[in-house]
Amino acid sequence: MTTKILTTRMDAHPTDSHTLSRYLATGGYEALTKALTEMSRDDIIEEVKASNLRGRGGAGFPTGVKWGFLAPDEPRYLVVNCDESEPGTFNDRQLTERDPHQLLEGIIISSFALDVHHAFVYIRGEYPKAARRLQSAVDEAYEAGYLGDDVRGSGFALDVTLHLGAGAYICGEETALLNSLEGRRGEPRLKPPFPAVEGLYSKPTIVNNVESISNIPWITSNGGAAYAAIGPERSAGTKMLSMSGHINAPGNYEIVMGMTWRELIFDIGGGIPDGRALKAWIPGGASAPWFVPDEHLDTIVSIDDVAANGSMIGAGAVIVMDETTNVVAAAHRILRFFAHESCGQCTPCREGTSWLEAVLKRILDGNGRPEDIDLLLDIADNISPGLVWPPLMTTICPLGPSAVSPITSITRWFRPELEAMIARSEVRVG
């Protein structure tokens, strides 16, 4: 299964895949021409529905269905989410830096389909190069008439504005992103109303991930059915996976889902360095519950299979940990992240994440107590009742419950290690 959709151009033309000339030379903007001249708005939406494309930003919500929710009010907006801040993910960065016109063509087609005349791309502030590359593409597109008052003589008008974030993971959450774009604190909004009804400036807004939108030109050209035919039915198309951690060949891989984790980690990722043993991996970024070899190595890489095994594929970040890993320290590192990134508006996330971090830190510092394991689990339970997956929440948004994943993971899979660490402290303290 070597089908590739998103990365063919950059693979074939490493030096100039980001330029308009190369894009045009490799069939670029033909999908747009088709959309503008041969298709109606509804046709495009139908094709996207038929493609079974599920949002690549993490939640896996079918893109076509989401588009169908867009309320009729005017003006309406498309906002592309390139905040990519989940530890372990870096595929949106590659798509934006290496093939910005593919993304832009996706934006133009989507905007046309959704009757949007102003689209925004929210790019995390730590990605200046991605922003520069996309800005150049936007400049080129205006110049060449793919953007502006009259896109390629079709009468359709579209402006695209890039907006840089400034260091806040939570702005990846779509409603926090909209607040940030409006010049406010990046605090998630209460839902409902959902952005498709009341989004940017309280107007109907579609928020989609960079990878989701980058697929739109291909779907437009080849039809939704062709896309749906790739890979497992409910995980159609290709997926960019970012692999990192203790793995021989870290990097982004555009894959067709359906393989086993063993194949992914050992065949595609090249296995664990120096022949060390695999201890655990996170299948979908820092938010996701961990997988362990004994249980999960031969389960299937797909949105639904991962969910059935109590975790998520999320934005596609696979973080591999080998046998040398101190899992408590790793869990602490992740908790530190969530405590740092909590927006602070709701109580359980604000207080709970920093408390969890503090307890782990104390254990790591050799001051653990036997009751700390129950304490960790109970704090976690007060953020995410029942500690089930997908999580229940006492919070406004899923950030707090995500922070619980490392806690449930280490207490479930590595309890003896945790106990041993605490026991050592008792010896030291006592």
Partner: protein, 806 residues
């Protein structure tokens, strides 16, 4: 299915009908299921931040924890508030809130009335599992001159920020930082100076925001609370006055949705500090050479009775009565008309409106009519400066979608949210009215907005320099708008009550015109013959004193030298008077001219009823004993009448209250008992069923002359001026601005003056402030400041550059 407008929900297995669309937390409370909360506040938009109010709501995929403060009730909703899951969640939240919260309840002002403390006790949080170090901040920091902030105690509920941003429109208090470092604060050197800052103290669920004054003064369990009314302006906000050991310690806004919805201005909230001012007059005083000497009540009463009795009734006038209760006003009106035998009485000081317009306008609206208005027209004084709580209500209406048209000679607090804000040169109001009424070119958009009813028009005099008849003409215009309701705007605290009690030359008690023969004879049935000649208003009385047509005058809490349009006339009049008796709590420019000064109780010290700008009557309750020998004006008049050989029947406020209900047609049935047992804490708008409104004033189109001149004057009212209570309140004095002459840059250029240069305005030297908001060829001066009070309120003003050294 429940009846119309309600839905049926099941809480803990019991079915209840509750109002459709209401938030679950409120609906549950209505039916007796209290759900704990911190961030929820009925009058603020939901934010769902504290997560304390989680309950289980059944849905298609089973029960889910849901914040009851954010979900509206829907028909058939099934709710559980007491399951183990709910309890666990709520206890968890509480534990989170207490992690970093200092355990200093014993020294916290909120100790004893703190939901965090209460819930910690109720849920028995027990021993803390949090053994790490608590987050600390440097101790309390002032966020304004009135409010202190203790960041460690803050639970990040967002109530104060919502009050500042959404309710008051003063976004000067905000969250800083993120995550567990979140705190509220102000910008460096930019304090939370808002006319509404005290509301944040009231809504803060914990002791994070405290009033500078109240801090460490009392423990909540030592407080007694009295429901009363704030007599600061004619909105008459409902308040709870909290006292301890005979002192007022704090004033909270009471939840009266018809009036103030719990909000107060800082003036309402903090003015009580004037009550305990060392400068209160506490004993009767009689003139002694250039000064005064103390005397006894009996001597003072004898003296007043003798001096007043020594004149023909019609040579005596009475000014004031708008700051006391209806009972005090009624007693004064009756005293003048029956004991003295004079028709010369006026509660206004030449700064108000035609009494018929103010007391008896047809299609008079209520404050809550604003909530339902499609369009609001404000043409009168700057609401933010004069009737701040009404300003909040207009803001709320606009937030909820009403269009707002503001017409004013100078910028007003509402301009920033107005759909249209029309500015005119002071004195040229009639011109703009004509243009609006005729839909002149350039005014189409405004006319179109105004054509969208229901319209509520708030009409008054933008400034004391404006012709009072303009309001009549504006009211006539507003009446022609679709489904129009009108609210006449006068600002003095109980001026509407005073007018309703007949404290006006052309009115008898109960909205009866002195020209209404039937009304007059009805009153004569109980009062005996009334004086025949027509009464004089305040300005006429002052002129008459100068001309010796009047020889004696009673000042009832009135300071004409400060408040009437021409201070010089007032001063000469009081100098010329043979006898002046003043009822007052403080020495003023006017009382200093009196021959006898009688110490008057202030409103927290008396009982009675009062009437606000919509005609709503509320119970005013005594919360503390009068200072020193002060008594109510009515009790004093009762003594004086007796000494004059007459029976006023005003010894006790309840007697007067009964008499009002008996003889004042619009107040028929409006007794204290009715208010207590029928109307309840909301009060009731007169006339109540069974009463009549004899006078129905229909405003007429009048031709008001346009004032021209080199410069026209707008004497702008300000909330904090040098008014008697503000200058005697240790909390609010010093808030008044220093006084400047504002003028348009081009006018400044033509006079060759720059910002700060001294200028001569009608003989008073003031610095210039260049302000493009001022229309050309007019000047704006803040009224009643120490520096500006000498300026006569003539519309046409002489402004000159000061030559040479001042």
């Amino acid at each position: 299915m429940a009846e119309h407008g309600t839905v049926s929900i099941i809480i803990n297995g019991v079915e209840h009908d509750v109002p459709e669309g209401e938030r679950l937390i409120t609906a549950a409370e209505r039916v007796g299921e209290y759900i704990p909360r911190f961030c929820h506040h009925d009058k603020l938009a939901p934010v769902g931040k504290c997560r304390m109010c989680l309950v289980e709501v059944e849905g298609p995929r089973g029960s889910a924890l849901t914040t009851s403060c954010t979900v509206p009730v829907t028909d058939g909703m099934v709710v559980h508030t007491e399951t183990d899951v709910v309890k666990k969640a709520q206890e968890g939240i509480l534990e989170f809130l207490l992690l970093n919260h200092p355990l200093d309840c014993s020294v916290c002002d909120k100790g004893g009335e703190c939901p965090l403390q209460d819930q910690a006790l109720a849920f028995g949080a027990g021993e803390s599992r949090f053994i790490e170090e608590k987050r600390t901040f440097t101790k309390p920091i002032p966020v304004s001159e009135l409010v202190l902030l203790d960041r460690e105690r803050c639970v990040v509920c967002d109530r104060c920020v919502r009050v500042a941003d959404d309710i008051a429109g003063d976004p000067l208090l905000e969250f800083i930082d993120r995550g567990s470092y979140v705190q509220i604060n102000t910008f460096p050197n930019e304090p939370f100076s808002s006319y509404f800052s005290g509301n944040t103290v009231q809504v803060c669920p914990v002791g994070a925001l405290t009033s500078v004054d109240y801090r460490f003064k009392a423990r909540p369990w030592d407080l007694e609370s009295v429901r009363s009314v704030s007599l600061v302006d004619s909105v008459q906000s409902s308040v709870d006055v909290h006292t301890s050991r005979g002192k007022i310690l704090r004033v909270y806004g009471a939840e009266n949705d018809a009036v103030n919805e719990g909000w107060l201005s800082d003036k309402d909230r903090f003015i009580f500090s004037a009550f305990r001012s060392p400068d209160r007059i506490t004993t009767p005083l009689v003139r002694d050479g250039d000064g005064f000497k103390e005397t006894s009540w009996s001597e003072a009463v004898e003296l007043v009775a003798m001096r007043l009795g020594g004149h023909v009734g019609t040579e005596v006038g009475a000014i004031g009565g708008a700051n006391g209760t209806n009972e005090e006003a009624f007693a004064l009106a009756k005293f003048m008309r029956t004991v003295v035998g004079s028709p010369h009485i006026d509660a206004q000081l030449g700064d108000g409106l035609d009494p018929h317009l103010a007391s008896s306008i047809t299609a008079r609206g209520t404050i809550s009519d604003l909530d339902a208005a499609s369009t609001i027209l404000v043409w009168g004084p700057d609401l933010k400066e004069t009737l701040p709580v009404l300003y909040l209500r207009v803001r709320k209406a606009v937030r909820n979608g009403a269009a707002l048209v503001v017409v004013s000679p100078y910028s007003t607090g509402l301009d920033s949210i107005a759909t249209h804000s029309l500015r005119y040169r002071a004195g040229s109001g009639p011109e703009i009215l004509r243009k609006l009424a005729h839909g002149d070119a350039g005014y189409e958009a405004v006319t179109e907005t105004l054509a969208n009813g229901p319209v509520v028009a708030l009409v008054g005099r933008s400034s004391i320099t404006e012709n009072p008849m303009l309001a009549e003409a504006v009211a006539a215009f507003a009446r022609s708008l679709p489904h129009a309701k009108l609210l006449p705007l006068l600002t003095r605290a109980n001026v509407f009550g005073a007018l309703d009690m007949g404290l006006a030359p052309t009115l008898l008690p109960g909205r009866v015109s002195t020209g209404d023969a039937a009304g007059v004879s009805l009153l004569e049935d109980s009062w005996g013959p009334l004086p025949e000649s027509a009464g004089k208003d305040t300005m006429a009385m002052l002129e008459a004193l100068i001309d010796r047509d009047l020889v004696a005058v009673i000042l009832a809490g009135a300071d004409p030298i400060r408040d009437c349009p021409d201070p010089a006339v007032a001063e000469s009049a009081l100098d010329a008077a043979e006898f002046v008796v003043a009822f007052d709590a403080f020495m003023t420019d006017s009382t200093r001219k009196a021959h006898v000064v009688l110490p008057a109780a202030l409103w927290g010290e008396v009982d009675g009823t009062v009437t606000n700008l919509e005609g709503r009557v509320q119970r005013l309750r005594r919360s503390v004993q009068p200072r020193g020998m002060s008594i109510s004006v009515s009790a004093a008049l009762d003594d004086i009448a007796r000494a004059m050989g007459a029976e006023l029947g005003a010894a006790d406020w309840q007697l007067i209250n009964k008499e009002i209900a008996a003889v004042a047609p619009a107040y028929a049935g409006m007794t204290a008992d009715y208010l207590t047992f029928e109307a309840g804490e909301e009060g009731a708008v007169v006339p109540i069923p069974g009463a009549t409104q004899p006078l129905g004033h229909i405003p007429v189109e009048v031709n008001v002359p346009v004032v021209t001149g080199r410069f026209t004057l707008h004497l702008a009212p300000a909330l904090y001026d040098a008014g008697v209570l503000v200058r005697n309140s240790h909390m609010l004095e010093g808030f008044a601005d220093p006084g400047v002459v504002r003028m348009h840059p081009r006018d400044a250029a033509s006079l060759a003056v720059a910002d700060g240069d001294l200028i001569d305005a009608e003989g008073v030297g003031l610095p210039v402030k260049i302000d493009p908001e001022v229309p050309e060829r007019s000047v704006v001066i803040t009224r009643n400041l120490d520096t500006t009070r000498g300026i006569a309120a003539s519309a046409d003003i002489r402004v000159e550059t000061v030559r040479g050294e001042p």
